[in-house]
Structure formats: C-alpha cells, structure tokens
Symmetry: C2
Subunit: 219 residues, 2 copies
C-alpha cells in the first residue's frame, strides 16, 4: 500500500492532502488496494457500484454492453484515472458499464458511503476530500457540456471554429491545439479525411491558416 503514497497525493481526489496524512485518511475511509489480473472484472454491468476506483497501475477498459450483448469500448483508464465515481455518487442501482483490467495492475477502491459520511473523529481531510470529489464531478460536467456544445453543431466548419474559439481567451488568435488531426477528428466526432478536406476549404476561404497543430484564426 505505502508504495503508492507517492503518486496518490498527485491525484486530483487527494489534492491538498500531504503524503504523511494519507495513511490515516485512507484507513479512515476504508480504502483498499486491490491487485488485478488481466481480464479481471472490477465492476460488472448490472451490479450496484458501491466503490469508486482509482487506477494505481496497469490499464482498465470501461465498456458499455448493449442490452443484446454488443460490447463497446467507452474509455481506457490509466494511472491516476478515476472510475465509477459518477455511478457511486448518483446511487445508480445497476451499473450500465463494465470495468475490466486489460493488463495486470492495481486499483485503489474507496467506499462511497464512507467517503461521504464524516468519521467519528471528524478528520479534517474529509471536507477536503469531499470538496475534491465535488470539484472532480463538476469539472467533468463542464468539460462534457463544452464538448456537447461543439459536437451538436451540424457542420465540420462550425465545429472547428467553435473549438478554436475556445482557445482565444487564453491564447489569442494563434492557437496551439493539443491534438493531431486524427485526435481532433475524434474529438469533434467527424471523419479524419473529411476534417482535412474542410480545413483546406476553410483556408481557401480565408478563415484560418494552419500548420500541423498550430492554427491562426483570421478575423
């Protein structure tokens, strides 16, 4: 367990908690480190999610299963990623997703109930922890909201412009994006080559310039 203290305090959920305090806090909220083997199911669809998890080592897949059994990869989780937190916090009775290890590894499991309810000794970390949890969910909310606004637009052109404009307040008109073409296409939910085509048209129309992942908005 101790071997992970170093990385734990870098995780958002434990932000502001010193590594020497971690031990007390973790036992206070009943955290357990679990080793997982490749292909092991950590949370099965249909179960009630009682614990949220954080990946300590290895890689997990978050999978959605159709009611008729088709499986669909929603996300991959690596070190530091948190999973099942929304399901726990929302009190969902039957998980719609399955979490499975794709490599050997380890996860930290936290009981949501114990996280929420203050321990008898009113440990100071509790409020911090809950605040972090709120922050985590809220941030994810905002991100999802932003992305939703973008991908609900109907043309690639408008998606690109909207996306780029979100950088303007921070970066001005010269924008370095954190994606390559393929990733940008994924993010905008469009096809890569269709994105390239549209970028070329936008350049032709004098809307943007670009080279690799640096874009200039011409206004």
């Amino acid at each position: 367990m101790q071997e992970y203290y170093g990385i734990l305090c870098d995780f958002t959920l434990f932000a502001g908690i010193k590594s020497e305090e971690l031990g007390v806090m973790l036992s206070c909220i009943g955290a357990e480190v679990v080793s997982v083997k490749k292909d092991q199911i950590i949370l099965a669809a249909g179960e009630k999610p009682e614990q949220l998890g954080i990946v300590l080592a290895g890689q997990l897949h978050i999978i959605r299963e159709d009611y008729d059994g088709k499986r669909d990869l929603l996300a991959a989780a690596v070190q530091g990623d948190i999973f099942a937190e929304a399901l726990c916090c929302a009190g969902v009775a039957e998980s719609p997703i399955t979490v499975m290890a794709v490599t050997d590894g380890a996860v930290l499991l936290l009981s949501f109930a114990r996280l929420l309810h203050s321990c008898p000794n009113v440990c100071a970390f509790h409020t911090r922890l809950i605040g972090n949890m709120l922050g985590l969910l809220a941030n994810k909310n905002i991100q999802l909201q932003n992305k939703m606004e973008i991908i609900s637009l109907k043309t690639i052109r408008s998606k690109v412009l909207y996306y780029l404009e979100t950088f303007v307040p921070k970066q001005g008109n010269q924008i370095k994006i954190p994606f390559n073409r393929e990733e940008l296409a994924d993010y905008l939910c469009v096809e890569r080559s269709a994105l390239s085509h549209e970028l070329a048209r936008m350049k032709r129309d004098g809307l943007i310039e670009y080279r690799k992942n640096v874009f200039v908005l011409r206004k």
Copy 2:
C-alpha cells in the same frame, strides 16, 4: 422566504430534509432569497461564481457569450432548476456563462463555501445536503455522458436505434418516448424533417414501427 418552504423540500438538493428543518438549515448555510426583475443579470460572464442558485419563481436564461459577443441560449431554467452549480463546485474563476431573468421572479442563492464546510454546530443536514449535491452533479454527468454517446454517432439511424435501445431494459420492445418529433430531433441534434425521413426509411426496412411517440423495435 417561508412562502417557499413548501416547494423547496421537493427540490432534489433538499431531498430528505423536512420542511420544518429547512429554516435552520438555510440560515446555517447562509441562503438568501432574491427577487429578480425581468432582464436582470444574476450571474455575469467573467465574474467568479460564488453562489449556486435555484429558481423559485419566474424564468431564467442561461446564455453563453462568444469572445466576440455573439450570444447563444444554452438553456432555460424554471422553478426548481438549479444553476451555476458546476461552476461553483469546480471553482472556475471566470464564468463562461451569463444567467439572466427573462421574467420577474425569485431565486434562492446558496454560498458554495458555506455549503461545503460544516457549520460549527455540525448540523445533520449538512451531510445530507452535500450528498444531494454530489448526486445532482453525478446524475447530470451520467445524462451528459449518455447523450454524448448518442450524438457522437454519425447517422440518424444509429442515433435513433441507440436512443430507443436505452429504453429496452425498462420498457421492453414497445417504447413510449418523452419527446415529440421536434424535441427528439433536437435531442439527437438532427433536423426534424431529416429525422422523419429516416424514421420512414427505418420502417420501410422493417427495423421499427411507430405511431406518434410510441415506437416498437423489431428485432
């Protein structure tokens, strides 16, 4: 203030709190009822959101303003709706949205800091309230996630099928949806008549039957 106690305990944020307890709790967390006039700004883009709000009466608009001033209506909030909660919980410094009253009305404003930090007298409602807040954010998360999965699909047909299939676990193959055509089109982020066209094709292809808002999945 008291005039609203009746409806307050129906709100998700206050679920599980008895109306006779509301008074204590609200003063404990420093809630204030504010009357608003049509066109009054409740939260301006650029400000730091310190308080989250709940609509008690009237209607609000949640507006996003482009960096170059274009305004875009994101949502309308009516009685019972909560707003700015994600921004508060996430601790964002500058609100990207503006909240404005479109009719005269009233809102309940809650200081996020006081909501999070237990009061000295360790009132029992606090944990409840925070749990509710977590639940709210988590539920929104899940909804956003679901919607995102749908609208990131590339064809209307797949969107419709995916959407309908989410009802199967509860309703079986005969599905009554909560939307009319226009609303469904909005939800799926497609054009109404394009949706109608596609529904007709899906019927022709033997995938579905439908009459008004009742659909049958043929498998």
